[in-house]
């Protein structure tokens, strides 16, 4: 009942019921379009019957050497379609693309330290808290950098947690 396909511009006109959710940010156009122009394989939408948008994931692949990794920028599911493991399906898709096509070492994501439900979900999906980023969200709330190692990182070096928190300036990528 779910068709997962590449996100396209017209989907921006159809995702309102997903983005009304207060934890889902509606970015400016150049943000979405930069992702579409650069990493179209990392931007997928799940569509249900009646062409309703159930949810979507957007991300990218970046980094150098052993830091070459997939990144989840946003993953969200409409209220009506929650509790069906759709977020898991979308995350697995991005992980597969990072792993099999781009041969990345790991996938990472940032989450608000207060967003316990999301943190729990990511943990269930195999992500670990790699480090805390101080005042990452608008200089106020801390963020957690969570990671999941991919097959190329045989020794799982990429996910050994850092002992100390970092500041946003110390982040390698935006």
């Amino acid at each position: 009942m779910t068709t997962i396909r590449r996100f396209c511009c017209n989907d921006l006109l159809r995702f309102a019921s997903v983005n009304f959710d207060h934890l889902t940010e509606t970015f400016n156009m150049s943000f979405y379009m930069t992702y579409l122009a650069r990493w179209p394989d990392y931007f997928h939408v799940a569509e249900g019957p009646g062409n309703k948008i159930m949810g979507y994931i957007m991300g990218k692949v970046e980094g150098q050497g052993e830091s070459w990794h997939g990144h989840v920028t946003a993953v969200t599911v409409a209220t009506e379609y929650r509790r069906q493991q759709l977020a898991k399906k979308l995350m697995n898709l991005l992980e597969d693309i990072s792993d099999q096509i781009d041969k990345a070492y790991f996938v990472d994501l940032f989450v608000r330290a207060s967003n316990t439900p999301a943190i729990k979900m990511y943990e269930k999906l195999g992500y670990v808290i790699y480090r805390r980023v101080l005042r990452y969200y608008s200089g106020e709330e801390d963020g957690l950098d969570m990671r999941k190692a991919l097959s190329r990182d045989v020794e799982k070096k990429s996910i050994i947690p850092l002992k100390r928190p970092v500041t946003p300036d110390e982040l390698e990528y935006d």
């Binding site: 511009c9 207060h22 156009m29 019957p49 009506e80």
Partner: protein, 1013 residues
């Protein structure tokens, strides 16, 4: 940053680094200082000049920036020895682009590329310029040059994309695709292809020419391996096979996809399409104009024999059942719903298989009935059943919930919610006695309350179990309001939603319902508050502004409206400005399919009906805001080029292919799109209000609105001119009273305006005169009353100058004027007198009254101001040879009368508003609450509200509900809600009063001025 440095124009990097850093950190003054130092060393360096221009532009000094840029450009052209480096050119380009002079930037690159024909970097810069200008042909030519120069695949694809753009978005004929195909074929033969996107473009070129066989051959050949995701490749293959008519092979491919992705609904529909040799599922997709597709699956009557059809559907059934077994332990709905679709098709092809459909529905309910999406999943299949069968289905569901298959409380709740939803969908609830209809709402609220403990440990950010019950209750209460006209049900509905938001503040579904309920009650400022809490920004402004914008356009909340329009227009215009750069980004990253998509998307937004409406309305709002001061009004008109551009828009609108991007899915049942509100009409039964797709009707309506409104700025401009000429002393100059150009243009526009109202000019004049004198019924105006009154006001202004309807000096001139005064009086004063308290008559006549005062009456005020200004003695001797003394004094008296009449009208409106505002707040709060107090046991609103009160007053157990929910419940106050409603409508009225008071002041001043004449 690093890429910005180099030896640009011979300046060493260290000298410019600081300047760029200052620019990047927005220290423009410092940057300017540093740039002056640089220029003292390199006074003739185009790069140094371009940098200075860039800084000045950022500081808002556009003229200076442009002149420096032009100077730099000149130096660049003149000095043969200077290097034409990309850094200088790209810096100039940035400034020219920001100054809206893309052509000048392109000119620089064209010149440079001409001078250094083999410089790839410059050619790429030039290509980029053409991308910004949407010059597809020149893009193609430049890309081909680059391709010839270095032979790289990407430049060939740039050229191919440019060709596709000519076909899709330009004037290029489809034959051009043959050229693109030829280019690709030749390249593939010698170099093959290396990028998956290149292959996708190649295939799309073939597909667009219906060369499906060729495309399939390429896909299954060596190049096919470029597509690394197997399913992606199979999807293309399936589509091509189906389009080529090879349905058997197509079905095989889709089977393969379903084996890999058993939940893929779209793929299943394609699979069925292939089996039944029905291509409607592909042709539907092709129609990219509609982004919000109707909720049904298209299919056509099959040409296959019954035997073949049955056999194929049985095969499909067997195939899908296999997945049902495989997927029995996971959340895959696809295979189960697929069975339903197969049964539906059987039914559509004439088989009476109701039992099978029913059985499949029940099975689906057992499996997924607890999910929030169950009802929307099965809606389509329920439509197949006749009313009795629907009721039978409902009964079966209800029976099943008495002995639920599960004991997990959240699932039990989910199943019960589903039953309520199905009941609402098919249960004919509105046929039940009112008291049972009410009980239905009460049951849902009770269920919500009883199940709150399930959510006690949830994070406040997470959606709670059973949250939708309150939206559903609201829907039922509004049905009851429509049915009984008892306002108490609306208040009940509001209380339910406000209660829900007190418990969890993030439920957007409640907020949207409140936006519409408060708008309906006239408490628009409160509706707007809730709308703002939805944080509608960026692209959502295009898709969901419809919840509030149409209400705001008819309201006196001008500051909020102005912000709403400005934010939206800024968003759209910013996108139009930056879209080309993003397209170039897609070119650079070799995501060619996105290139086409981006250009088409920008065009779609440019043709947005809402965007065009907002542009016109933003200008009209500016004009409305300044009507009390003719000089300021003229300033606005000047900034709008005296309305000329809008007349052009009005001329073009018929030929424009408008897009409708609004997402209406989240609208409440009673107003499925902005132009429709079932609550304003008689009760027709709930099943009467489907969320119909009214695109065609809406499109015609929007065109009419834009066409008509776009004429207003110009007509206002000409009206002021015309009124002014009628009394001016210019008669002394040329002896002619009228100014023929103004008169003829205004007449032309009046003719058009009349035509848009469905009349010829002569007929329209007759209607206006007839209605004003009482000879014709005001029904002649239909629903366009405001526009008819606008017409009357402009007609009067035209007649003052043209005298076509009368002899100069004759009484006809003032006769029309008197009639316009009478019309304004009739429609505004009389409407005011018939107005009741806002709280008692939701959505009453207030929006119309606001429009009448701020449009026709305001434009008439401008006529008065213009006449007074012209008739004031200018220090010269009294005019000679102009209009006769008699006619002038007659006109002056008419003006005086008209000023008095207009002032009386506005004063009457102001008095009504003041009376409304003056009512003690507690008194109105009490009225609202009295709607909710149920007396006796009989039917009537208040039952649900009283349930809420009993919940909140009962001892709240913290063990059962956790700490957060009881606290929230304690803080909830119905009196506060009622008070907010009162404040909300008072705010609207106060704003309206402010507008009226300014008008009264202006009219008083006019009267004093006239006393000097």
């Amino acid at each position: 940053m690093a890429s910005k440095f180099g030896l640009a124009g011979g300046i060493p990097e260290r000298r410019v680094r600081q300047i760029w850093e200052a620019i990047d950190s927005r220290q423009f003054k410092n940057a300017l200082k540093l740039s002056s130092v640089l220029l003292s060393k390199y006074p003739n360096s185009p790069y140094a000049l371009a940098l200075k221009a860039l800084i000045l532009e950022r500081m808002g000094k556009s003229d200076e920036a442009l002149s420096i840029c032009l100077n730099a450009k000149e130096l660049l052209y003149k000095n043969e020895s200077l290097l034409m480096d990309d850094l200088t050119l790209s810096t100039l380009q940035i400034v020219f682009q920001r100054l809206d002079h893309l052509d000048l930037a392109t000119g620089c690159y064209e010149y440079a590329s001409g001078k250094f024909p083999n410089n790839l970097e410059l050619m790429m810069g030039l290509f980029n310029c053409y991308v910004r200008e949407y010059s597809f042909v020149k893009q193609q030519q430049t890309a081909i040059k680059m391709y010839k120069l270095v032979g790289e695949e990407r430049f060939l694809l740039w050229a191919v994309c440019s060709i596709q753009l000519q076909v899709f978005c330009g004037n290029g004929g489809e034959k051009l695709l043959l050229l693109a195909e030829g280019l690709l074929k030749k390249h593939v033969a010698s170099h093959s292809l290396h990028e998956p996107e290149a292959l996708i473009v190649y295939i799309s070129i073939l597909e667009q020419q219906a060369k499906y066989g060729d495309a399939l051959e390429i896909l299954s050949g060596k190049l096919g391996s470029l597509l690394m995701i197997e399913v992606d490749k199979l999807r293309i293959q399936g589509r091509l096979l189906a389009k080529s008519g090879d349905y058997a092979a197509g079905a095989n491919i889709y089977q393969k996809i379903l084996e890999l992705c058993p939940d893929d609904w779209e793929c299943f529909l394609h699979y069925l399409g292939c089996l039944l040799e029905d291509d409607s599922s592909w042709s539907n997709r092709v129609n990219g104009e509609l982004v919000h597709l109707p909720n049904f699956v298209d299919c056509t009557v099959s040409h296959l024999t019954d035997e073949v059809l049955n056999c194929r559907l049985s095969n499909a059934s067997a195939f899908v059942q296999k997945f049902q077994v495989d997927a029995s332990n996971c959340f895959i709905r696809g295979p189960h719903l697929a069975i339903l679709e197969i049964q539906r098709r059987r039914h559509l092809y004439g088989k009476k298989n109701y039992d099978e459909i029913m059985e499949a529905l029940i099975q689906y309910f057992f499996k997924f009935g607890h999910l929030a999406c169950f009802t929307s999943d099965v809606e389509l299949f329920l439509q197949v059943l006749c009313p009795d069968q629907k009721m039978e289905f409902l009964e079966k569901l209800m029976k099943s919930t008495t002995h639920p298959l599960t004991t997990i409380p959240t699932k039990v709740l989910g199943l019960s919610i589903t039953v309520f939803k199905i009941q609402q969908l098919i249960g004919n609830i509105d046929k039940l006695p009112v008291v049972e209809h009410e009980a239905f709402a009460a049951q849902m609220v009770e269920m919500y309350w009883k199940n709150l403990p399930l959510s006690k440990d949830l994070d406040p950010q997470e959606s709670m179990h059973g949250e939708e019950l309150l939206s559903m209750t609201c829907n039922v209460l509004v049905q009851l309001y429509w049915r009984t006209r008892h306002l108490g049900y609306i208040m009940d509905a509001i209380m339910v939603l406000e209660f829900g938001l007190a418990i969890r503040q993030y439920v957007w579904q409640y907020k949207i319902l409140l936006v519409h309920l408060y708008s309906h009650l006239g408490a628009l400022s409160l509706a707007y508050e809730w709308y703002k809490s939805l944080d509608v920004k960026n692209i959502l402004m295009e898709t969901v502004s419809h919840h509030i914008l149409p209400h705001m356009l008819q309201s006196p909340l001008w500051v909020d409206l102005s912000n709403l329009l400005k934010d939206y227009l800024r968003f759209m215009d910013d996108h139009f400005r930056e879209s080309a750069d993003l397209t170039f980004l897609a070119y650079r990253h070799r995501n060619y399919s996105k290139v086409i998509e981006f250009v088409q998307f920008k065009e779609r937004l440019q043709r947005s009906n809402q965007y065009l409406v907002a542009r016109v309305e933003a200008s009209i709002l500016q004009l409305k805001q300044k009507t009390d001061n003719i000089e300021e009004e003229e300033g606005i008109l000047e900034s709008l080029n005296c309305g000329i551009h809008f007349v052009e828009l009005s001329n073009e609108i018929r030929s424009k292919n408008l897009t409708f991007n609004e997402d209406f899915q989240s609208r409440p049942w009673w107003t499925p799109f902005p132009e429709k509100n079932y609550l304003l009409g008689p009760f027709e039964g709930i099943s009467y209000c489907p969320k119909e797709n009214m695109t065609e009707e809406r499109e015609e309506n929007v065109r009419r609105v834009i066409e008509r409104k776009s004429l207003l700025p110009r007509m206002i401009y000409l009206t002021i001119q015309s009124a002014s000429v009628s009394l001016k002393e210019n008669a002394e100059v040329n002896g002619s009273v009228s100014e023929p150009k103004i008169s003829s243009e205004l007449k032309f526009l009046l003719e058009r305006y009349a035509k848009l109202l469905g009349s010829s000019l002569t007929d329209a004049i007759e209607v206006v005169m007839g209605v004003s004198t009482g000879l014709k019924s005001s029904e002649a105006f239909g629903s366009d009353m405001v526009d008819w009154l606008n017409f009357a006001v402009f007609l009067n202004a035209w007649n003052l100058n043209s005298h076509e309807l009368s002899q100069p000096g004759g009484d006809q001139c003032v006769h029309i004027w008197h009639n316009v005064d009478a019309l304004l009086y009739k429609y505004i004063s009389e409407k005011t007198r018939s107005m009741e308290s806002l709280i008692c008559t939701p959505r009453g006549h207030l929006p119309t009254l606001v429009q009448l005062v701020t449009e026709p009456l305001a434009w008439h005020g401008l006529v008065l101001q213009s006449c007074v200004r012209s008739s004031l003695p200018s220090g010269k001797k009294k005019k000679k040879g102009g209009p006769s003394e008699h006619s002038t004094s007659l006109l002056c008296n008419t003006i005086r009368d008209s000023i008095d009449s207009s002032r009386d009208i506005v004063e009457e409106v102001a008095k009504w508003i003041t009376d409304q505002i003056k009512r003690p707040e507690d008194e109105v709060v009490e009225i609202i609450l009295s709607y909710l107090r149920k007396t006796g046991q009989g039917e009537g609103p208040g039952q649900v509200f009283q349930l809420l009160e009993s919940f909140t007053s009962s001892v709240v157990d913290e063990v059962e509900l956790g700490s957060r929910i009881p606290q929230a419940v304690k803080l909830w106050s119905p009196v506060d809600v009622a008070r907010k409603i009162v404040t909300g409508s008072s705010t609207v009225l106060s704003e309206f009063l402010r507008i009226c008071e300014l008008k009264i002041k202006s009219l008083r001043a006019l009267k004093q001025q006239m006393a000097q004449v």
